[in-house]
Structures are given as structure tokens and as C-alpha cells.
């Protein structure tokens, strides 16, 4: 039998967990499971932040990414943007304190959410190479740039400022981060390359310059000079709130009555609706939010469920838009046919979302392999765990055979095809904290399938037309050859002029000629002008490696 221990003894074993320990235990959740993935995660977090910052500042993003191989599995990652910059006082917290950020406590569509990513990269650098992160930021032309060298105190989760100075920087505004990390970039490893290329597809308003560890430079250039519509920050919709969040909201609110709490802290709740919720919950409208106990809060949840509340506003979402998504795809994937669709906003669990799909068909894409699926959530490429997400499921459950492609059961269609499935939402439901796949909400899968069917139908009619054009062309070619032969034989039999016979017979091909002339332009294979080095980067998703 185990020896009895006193509470005091047990208390000795209870202590603060340092962030370093937290990181060590949770590195797989944060995208640092192995060296190869770590490189991608660091680049991804920095680029996501840069894009978010530029868009919030109303600036067309110019982003420069550089990875330098320093030998011995050490890499220097430098990401520089032209965003609005960060005020001096905030810099250490943003880069050197875990779980610090502006995005977690609000409902607004953005790439980052939790405020873990970039500081986790800084911590990873510190743990693997012992080097400080070097940050430069400048907020306007007239001001000087601030330069920091930062570490994280792993006991207190507080920034340690190792160096701080004002410097001259050629940029008008922007932020630059440099970290040295342990990582690997294997030969033929395209994860970072592919990630940036996919980012360029979903962000056609961004310019991204990239130098890989082999010192090859790639430029993914901007195709549209307009920023995406700025998403509005919204209050939560009652249907989307979970009990834990509700408890927190009740505790933090400044409202003095339950009714005003419901009206002020939620969207789509007016005084009538607030009354109705309280009635349905059996609670008084003048109860003080701070005084509500758990049983009351449970009743409040039920009251919300019973009450009909109009769907949330959807202007908090900024989808890419069908035209821009197609433009992005067009510039990075050479093909002969493109189609894109942007669905109207829908709601899952009180959270609005928009699904968008695009396809590129034909060209140099491999014909005998499964189609390439590119997944995005809020314009961020999802690279891992393709098979477990809602995007994959909706693609394989769509019947591509009726659009003229081959497809085996529960697999991607076969053919020279790239499919994009993109989700925009204030809170995309990921299956894990690493944000690798979108959860299977029926509402979301339904929207995805409708979007895929829409582009699929366009593809189907294109494929059919194309087949017909080539049949008619084939017909013309065949008869162009046969007619003189038949005319000659008939001349030898009957003595009727061969020239006249040829003329007369060729006239009978005019219908085919007209058809081809009418449709050929639209259905010809676009000459692949874009044969530069960017097009050599393979777009693909990645299976998780064995560590």
C-alpha cells in the first residue's frame, strides 16, 4: 500500500511550469515537431504576421524572405515587411512573450489568432542556437528605427532585452525579424518554397521576394493593386458562445444588468431579443451580471438556444473574391482553363464563414496523377494533414466523373488539375492548435461541396466543348486528306472535273469549320509564357514525417 502523504508534502511538488518546459512539451502542437517543419513554421509565422500588419495598416504588402544556410543544421531566417511598424514599447512583448497578442480577444478575421506563433519562434531560436532574435522596426519616415536584440526569460515568460538602440534604416516604415534556428532544408525540400508560392496565390495583392538556402531568388509578384476589404471586428453571436467564454464575459463586463449585457456584448441582440432570452431562461432582466452563479449561467445558455436570433452579420469576413482567387491561381499555375467561385456567407455555430473554390485545368500539369489540392484558411496555406480535413473530404465526396475526369472512390480526381478550397472566417475551426486542417462541420462541408460542384460544372462543360472542338478539327483534317482522293477516283470513273468535285466536297465541311473557328480561341491551350523559375516550384501538400 502506498505511503500516505500530507498536503504539505504534496504542495512541495507543485510549482510554476516554465515556458521553456511548456514549449518542450507542446512543440508538436506549435509546429516544431522536427527540424524540417521548424523552418517552415518560423517562416510561416513571420510572414503571416507581416501580411496581417500590412493589411491592418492599409499598406500593399512587400515582403522579403531570406533563409541562409549557416552549416551544421543552422539557418538564419530573415523576414522583412513594409508594414506600419511597431511602437517601441510593444516590441519586446510581441516578440519575446508567449501568449501576448491583440488577436485572441477579439472576433475579427485574421491569419494569426493566439499570439503564440512568433514568440514561439524566438523561443525556439533561443533553445536551439542560444542566439537572440534581432528585431528592427520603424513606424514612419520622420522617426528613427528601433533595433532590439531579444531573449525570453523562460522562468517568468518575460522579455529579456539584450540590446536596444536607435538606428538608421533605409525603409520608411516596416518591421524586420532575424532569428537563427536549428532546422533542416533537405535537397528537393520544397516546403518553404511551396508555402510561399501558395501564399502568393491566396494573396494576389502581395509582393513576395524569397531567397532560399541555395541562394536562388524567387519573386512572386503582385497582380492586383487593391487591398482586400478590411474585415470588421464583431462581437460574438449568442449561438456561437460556449459556457466557459460566457462565464468570462459575465465577469469582465461593465454592464450592470443582464439585459444590457446581452445587448452590448453580443451582436444581433436588441432589447426585444434580450427580453426573450431572459424569459426563456427564467431569469430577470435586471440581474447583475457579476452575481450570476453557474446554475443561472446554464439556464442562460438554454435560453439562448430556445430563442430565435437573426443570423450574424457577415461583413466581418473578407473573402478573397472569385476574380482575385482566379488571378492568383493564374499567375502561379500555368493551365488552359480556370474557374473560381466565391459563395455567399453562411454560419456555423453562430460564426460566419465564406467558402471559395478555384480550379486550374490542363497545361503542363501531370495527367496521370491525382489532382493537386491546395487548402487555405484566411489566406494561409494549410500544408499538413490533408487527408483529415474538411477540404479533402468535400473534394473526394464530389463526383468528378460527371465533369469528365477519372476518380476512384474516396480519392482525389485524376487529371491535370489543381483545386483550391479556401475558408474565410473570424474563427476557422481547426482540428488542432497547429492549424493544419479544418474540422468537419456539416455546414462547412456542405458549402465546400456546393462550391466544388459549381466550378466542376464549368470544368465539365469546358472539357466537353474541348473534346468536340478537337473532334471537329480531326474531322476536317481527315476529310481534307480524303476529298482529293475520292474526287480523283470519281474523275477516273466518270470523267467529271476533279477540281469541281474537290470544291464541291470541301464546301460540305463548312459547318465543322465554323464550329472550330467559333470555339477554338476559347479552348486552345494557353501558351505557357510563364516558364520562369517560380513555376518550377512544385505545389503540394506534405505528409507528416516520422520523427
Amino acid at each position: 500500500m502506498a505511503k500516505k502523504r500530507s498536503a504539505e508534502e504534496l504542495a512541495k511538488g507543485q510549482k510554476d511550469i516554465s515556458v521553456a518546459e511548456f514549449f518542450e512539451r507542446n512543440r508538436h502542437l506549435l509546429g516544431f515537431d522536427n527540424k524540417r517543419k521548424a523552418l517552415l513554421t518560423v517562416v510561416k509565422e513571420a510572414v503571416d504576421n507581416s501580411l496581417d500588419a500590412c493589411e491592418e495598416g492599409g499598406i500593399l504588402p512587400d515582403i522579403n524572405v531570406e533563409i541562409i544556410d549557416m552549416g551544421n543544421d543552422r539557418f538564419r531566417v530573415v523576414v522583412e515587411d513594409n508594414g506600419p511598424g511597431i511602437v517601441k514599447a510593444q516590441i519586446p512583448n510581441i516578440f519575446a512573450r508567449l501568449l501576448y497578442g491583440s488577436k485572441f480577444h477579439r472576433l475579427k478575421q485574421a491569419r494569426g489568432q493566439q499570439g503564440i506563433g512568433i514568440s514561439a519562434s524566438v523561443l525556439y531560436a533561443q533553445l536551439t542556437t542560444g542566439r537572440a532574435a534581432k528585431i528592427t522596426s520603424k513606424t514612419s519616415k520622420s522617426k528613427e528605427a528601433h533595433y532590439f536584440e531579444l531573449g525570453i526569460n523562460t522562468k517568468t515568460n518575460k522579455p529579456e532585452i539584450l540590446k536596444e538602440e536607435k538606428i538608421d534604416w533605409h525603409k520608411e516604415h516596416g518591421t524586420k525579424i532575424q532569428v537563427d534556428i536549428e532546422a533542416s532544408y533537405a535537397r528537393g525540400d520544397q516546403s518553404v518554397d511551396s508555402y510561399l508560392k501558395q501564399t502568393a496565390i491566396a494573396n494576389p495583392h502581395a509582393n513576395i521576394a524569397y531567397t532560399n538556402p541555395k541562394a536562388e531568388q524567387f519573386i512572386f509578384s503582385r497582380v492586383v493593386d487593391v487591398l482586400p476589404k478590411e474585415p470588421k471586428e464583431v462581437k460574438p453571436h449568442p449561438y456561437g458562445v460556449e459556457i466557459g467564454v460566457l462565464v468570462k464575459m459575465l465577469r469582465n463586463t461593465e454592464c450592470r444588468s443582464l439585459q444590457s449585457f446581452l445587448m452590448n456584448e453580443f451582436s444581433r441582440v436588441g432589447s426585444n431579443t434580450a427580453h426573450e432570452i431572459c424569459d426563456n431562461a427564467g431569469l430577470f432582466t435586471n440581474m447583475k451580471p457579476h452575481e450570476l452563479q453557474l446554475p443561472h449561467i446554464e439556464k442562460l445558455m438554454e435560453g439562448i438556444k430556445k430563442t430565435k436570433i437573426i443570423a450574424p452579420t457577415t461583413d466581418c469576413i473578407s473573402p478573397i473574391g472569385a476574380d482575385l482567387l482566379e488571378a492568383g491561381l493564374r499567375k502561379e499555375v500555368a493551365a488552359e482553363f480556370y474557374a473560381a467561385v466565391s459563395r455567399s456567407p453562411q454560419v456555423y455555430r453562430g460564426i460566419p464563414f465564406v467558402v471559395e473554390c478555384a480550379i486550374a485545368f490542363g497545361g503542363d500539369q501531370p495527367k496521370d496523377q491525382g489532382a493537386r489540392l491546395l487548402r487555405f484558411a484566411n489566406r494561409v496555406p494549410l500544408l499538413y494533414q490533408q487527408g483529415s480535413g474538411a477540404c479533402f473530404k468535400s473534394v473526394v465526396k464530389t463526383n468528378w466523373r460527371s465533369y469528365g475526369l477519372h476518380q476512384s472512390q474516396n480519392s482525389l480526381p485524376q487529371g491535370p488539375l489543381t483545386i483550391i478550397v479556401s475558408l474565410a472566417s473570424v474563427w476557422p475551426p481547426f482540428t488542432s492548435e497547429a492549424k493544419e486542417a479544418i474540422a468537419h462541420y456539416p455546414e462547412i462541408i456542405k458549402e465546400m461541396r456546393l462550391a466544388l460542384q459549381d466550378v466542376g460544372r464549368k470544368l465539365g462543360s469546358y472539357v466537353k466543348k474541348k473534346r468536340k472542338v478537337s473532334e471537329q478539327q480531326e474531322r476536317i483534317n481527315t476529310f481534307e486528306g480524303f476529298i482529293p482522293e475520292v474526287a480523283d477516283a470519281l474523275f477516273r470513273l466518270s470523267g467529271v472535273s476533279k477540281v469541281k468535285l474537290v470544291d464541291s466536297l470541301k464546301k460540305m465541311l463548312s459547318k465543322s469549320r465554323e464550329f472550330v473557328a467559333e470555339h477554338k480561341e476559347k479552348h486552345k491551350v494557353e501558351s505557357l509564357v510563364k516558364k520562369d523559375k517560380e513555376s518550377k516550384i512544385e505545389l503540394r501538400s506534405f505528409e507528416d514525417e516520422e520523427v
Binding site: E480, G481, E485, D488, A489, F491, S504, L505
Partner: protein
């Protein structure tokens, strides 16, 4: 120009003029070809012959599936017309080479193998109603004959009894052969040249007062026409001698009733009174040939079943008995097996006995 040539020339010219007229009028030219397929063949029990029915296939040049066949047919027609005009004859093989070329600017050949030109020629026969020979196209000559018969061919007098060891070699076109003297009681036609040589060396035709005829391989039209003429013009019975196997029965069937491919020429080809002399299943038993059995393969059973189902055999009890016995044996016997007994067993014993006893199957 001979009368038959005038007919052929006109038929070919008319065909060309009709098609050219359609083309110049802006109509898609169409060839109307009587269908030469099982679906359009029926058995005329009275005449004991396969006949072609009234089904006609329209072969439109502008139908991509028909275009090549259309071209092949008019090309062959033009070749035939040039032969008739020049008063020359040529072979199926030559016609193939005359038609074979690649259409300029394409990778398409007008004909890829001889089957295609042969088929086009048969189509031309059914379109014009003229036999290949009348279109100046001959098959390869093939086959030998011997007997007390004197004929005249192209002005030469030929005595089939004085043709040395090879016999008279049967030309592909026997329409112009004139019979001067025919002294025979019957004709024996055999599938195998080796058997013919045995009978010839043994002077079987002289001793038994008959005509012996054979081909090497398929029975050609020249042979069939010659048999037909001896049968109709000189009332000679025709006896057929083949291996004991489904293919031997088939040779008999084609000779007697005609074939699907040449159903349109039945009235010139078939031998309604021909009899099957052997080798029969009973011969196998009576002459002790079982030890020379060659085991059937699957394809032999299939072929036997097909033949047993032919309309003209279906109600014939004698034949059904043969088919059943063959099936039960599950084996075939080559006629050459008789040589194992005695080299001249076939000419001195088997055939004289069979003919004396009138041991035929009709």
C-alpha cells in the same frame, strides 16, 4: 470490246457519274451497299443455298466512320475501270498494291492490308451486281484437276488426261473455258493436295472413270465455278472428301450451300447436289482409325457447335448424328491416316468401296 466488258464499263461509269452528280449538287455522296453479314443472309431451303437479303447499308462519305471504306470502294472501282479499259486482268494482291499509298499530308493509308481491298472488291461486286472476274480482278490460281476431259482455253486445246504428274492447273477465271469432251461418271473433290497426288499417281481417275480435283487450302472461286459447271452443264455428281474435323465439314457446307461472304453469288457457286463422301464418323469405326485420333481443343468444340447449329444442318438427322459422334470422340482424324495402313489403301480400297456402296451423306 467484248460484251461483258461493255457491261462492266457502263456499270462502273454509272456508279461514278451518280456519285459525282450528288457531290456537285451539294449532296453528301452515299454508296448503297447490300449488307454482307449474317443478319442479311438467309437459307433458301428450296434452292438449298444461302442468299443475300434486301438489307442495304448507306455508306455516307461524310460519316467519319464510313469515310475510309467509301474511299476504298471508289478507289477499287476506279482501278477496276482502268483494267476493263485496258483489257487486262490482275490479281487481288495487285489491286491491293495499286490502291496502297499514303494520303498526302496525313499518316493514313488508303488500304493497310489486303483484307481491306478484298472487302472493297466484294462490296463493289454487290453494288454493281458483277462478279469479280467480270471486273477483271482474279484470285490466285490454285488447284489441280485430272480426268478424261478435253477443254479449250484461250484457243488452246487441253486434255486433262495428258497433263503429266501435276495435272491441269485450274485458273482463277474459268468462264471462258469450253468443254469439248467429258467422259466421266462423277467428280471427287478433295481438300488435300497430297491426297490428289496419291490418286493421280495411282491413276484413280482412269481406273474409276472420274475426275479428281483439289486445291491447296481454301476452295477458290475458280474451282467452285468449275465444279458448278461440271455439275450443271454435264450433270456429274460431285463427291467431297475432307479430314474428319469441323473444318472439313465447313468446306463441304460452303461448297454445297455457299458462304456468307459470297451469298450474293450463290446462284453461280453452290452445288445443291454435292455429297459428302468422307471421312465420316462411321469410317473411323469401320476402318479402325481411332488410333489416329488427334484430341480436340476448346476451339474445335466451339466450331463444331457453331456448325451443328447451321440452319441447313439443324434438321438433318444424318448430319446431327455425325456431329454428335464427333463430339463424343472429342477428337479429329486427318485423311492422311489411311496411308498408315497401306500407301494406296485410299485409292484401292477406301474410295472404291465407299462409291460402290453409295456410302454418302447428303
Amino acid at each position: 470490246m467484248k460484251k461483258s466488258n461493255v457491261v462492266a464499263k457502263k456499270a462502273l461509269e454509272d456508279l461514278g457519274k451518280e456519285l459525282a452528280k450528288e457531290a456537285l449538287a451539294g449532296k453528301q455522296p452515299v454508296l448503297n451497299v447490300p449488307v454482307r453479314a449474317l443478319s442479311n443472309i438467309h437459307f433458301n431451303a428450296e434452292k438449298k443455298a444461302l442468299e443475300i437479303g434486301g438489307k442495304i447499308a448507306s455508306r455516307n462519305f461524310f460519316n467519319i466512320a464510313h469515310a475510309k471504306k467509301f474511299l476504298q470502294t471508289v478507289e477499287v472501282a476506279a482501278i477496276s475501270k482502268s483494267l476493263v479499259d485496258a483489257g487486262k486482268h490482275t490479281s487481288l494482291r495487285d489491286v491491293f498494291y495499286m490502291a496502297k499509298r499514303t494520303i498526302p499530308n496525313t499518316k493514313v493509308n488508303i488500304v493497310d492490308d489486303q483484307n481491306e481491298s478484298d472487302n472493297a472488291i466484294e462490296d463493289l461486286e454487290v453494288i454493281t451486281g458483277l462478279a469479280r472476274e467480270e471486273l477483271h480482278i482474279n484470285a490466285n490460281k490454285n488447284g489441280s484437276v485430272a480426268g478424261h476431259v478435253v477443254i479449250e482455253d484461250k484457243g488452246d486445246e487441253i486434255d486433262w488426261a495428258k497433263m503429266g504428274s501435276g495435272g491441269w492447273s485450274i485458273p482463277s477465271n474459268v468462264e471462258n473455258v469450253k468443254f469439248k469432251k467429258v467422259k466421266a461418271e462423277y467428280v471427287v473433290y478433295m481438300e488435300k493436295a497430297a491426297v490428289w497426288e496419291r490418286l493421280h499417281e495411282d491413276k484413280f481417275w482412269d481406273k474409276n472413270n472420274c475426275i479428281i480435283m483439289s486445291s491447296q487450302g481454301q476452295t477458290t472461286r475458280g474451282i467452285r465455278r468449275l465444279l458448278r459447271r461440271l455439275s450443271t452443264e454435264h450433270k456429274l455428281p460431285v463427291y467431297i472428301l475432307t479430314d474428319f474435323d469441323p473444318w472439313g465439314f465447313y468446306i463441304y457446307s460452303v461448297l454445297k450451300f455457299g458462304s456468307i461472304n459470297l451469298a450474293h453469288m450463290s446462284n453461280k457457286m453452290t452445288l445443291p447436289d454435292a455429297k459428302f463422301l468422307g471421312v465420316t464418323a462411321d469410317d473411323i469405326v469401320n476402318y479402325g482409325l481411332k488410333k489416329y485420333f488427334i484430341k480436340f481443343k476448346d476451339i474445335d468444340f466451339t466450331r463444331l457447335k457453331q456448325i451443328a447449329n447451321y440452319e441447313w444442318f439443324k434438321k438433318n438427322k444424318l448430319w446431327q448424328r455425325q456431329f454428335k459422334m464427333m463430339k463424343d470422340f472429342g477428337a479429329k482424324v486427318e485423311i492422311n491416316a489411311f496411308s498408315a495402313k497401306n500407301i494406296s489403301f485410299i485409292s484401292e480400297k477406301y474410295l472404291p468401296e465407299k462409291i460402290r456402296n453409295k456410302d454418302f451423306i447428303d
